[in-house]
């Protein structure tokens, strides 16, 4: 009797293991696959450390760009940089800029025509730190923005020469860019109104 009960328990245990093996192994495989995906959370990722790094990066960005640019980034989440600033043919005393870039953190630069909002190209560029001090080569988001800003305003040709050029829409959703350009217009109008009001209040 005891022997029969033990045998039954063993059979039940073996069947349970066999039934559970499928879903468990699938779950383990899925977990391993997720860890190996590009952009997945790297080993040793510390959200607190990353947050502190991002706060420092934001402070550094703020100390480098114009006040209006900082407000643009803080409120809209991207920066606009005029293109061809050093090109005498493109500037030629004209106040209109032939083209400009939108800088998003950890996304390609988007080049567009300000007057028509036509998208021209995407420039895929990043700044990988191969020393990987904490396991990742990725700069904090605001450092990535600052690196793009400083390189674009300092030596546009050099940065664009290092980037991979693609047609618009390959990595950045064009509808989102159009929405962001519309938001930028609205933001600039509101800012101009605020500046006028402040000016009229302080005028004698």
């Amino acid at each position: 009797m005891l022997l029969a009960l033990a045998a039954t328990l063993i059979v039940i245990a073996v069947l349970s293991i066999d039934i559970a093996r499928g879903p468990v192994s699938r779950r383990v495989r899925r977990l391993l696959r997720r860890r190996a995906e590009p952009g997945a959370i790297p080993v040793g990722y510390d959200p607190g450390r990353e947050l502190r790094a991002e706060q420092k990066a934001r402070a550094l960005l703020r100390s480098c760009v114009d006040e209006a640019d900082w407000e643009m980034y803080a409120e809209l989440g991207f920066l606009r940089v005029w293109g061809g600033e050093d090109d005498p043919v493109l500037r030629d005393g004209d106040d209109e800029h032939a083209y400009a870039y939108l800088i998003y953190p950890h996304e390609p630069l988007v080049c567009f025509v300000p007057a028509s909002r036509r998208l021209l190209n995407e420039y895929c560029v990043n700044f990988p730190d191969q020393s990987r001090p904490y396991g990742s080569a990725r700069l904090p988001a605001s450092d990535d923005v600052l690196a793009k800003w400083i390189a674009l305003t300092g030596d546009e040709r050099r940065l664009i020469g290092a980037a991979e050029m693609h047609l618009p829409g390959r990595l950045v959703d064009p509808e989102r860019v159009q929405r962001d350009l519309w938001r930028l217009d609205r933001w600039e109008q509101a800012r101009a109104v605020r500046a006028r009001r402040a000016g009229s209040l302080t005028a004698p």
Partner: protein
């Protein structure tokens, strides 16, 4: 003059600090500058352009850094993709 380096998981890191008008400190700055370039970093100085707009100025040698610059920022060189 301060040398700052952007770093993953850290934000900026102070690499060196010195007065370029003091000979010994200038040499330390030159050595630190060279070391970062050898590590594959790009270097830039935040400046104000005529008219007041701020912008970056890329530098490839210590001699190109304006003497009155407060900061030189090092960051990993750009790569496509």
């Amino acid at each position: 003059m301060k040398f700052l380096r952007m770093m993953p998981g850290h934000g900026e890191l102070l690499l060196a600090e010195g007065d370029p008008s003091v000979r010994e400190e200038e040499q330390e700055l030159i050595d630190a500058f060279r070391e970062q370039l050898e590590l594959g970093m790009w270097a830039a100085v935040p400046t104000a352009a005529p008219g007041g707009r701020r912008r970056g100025r890329m530098v490839t040698a210590f001699g190109e850094v304006p003497r009155d610059a407060e900061r030189v920022i090092f960051f990993p060189r750009a790569a496509g993709g």
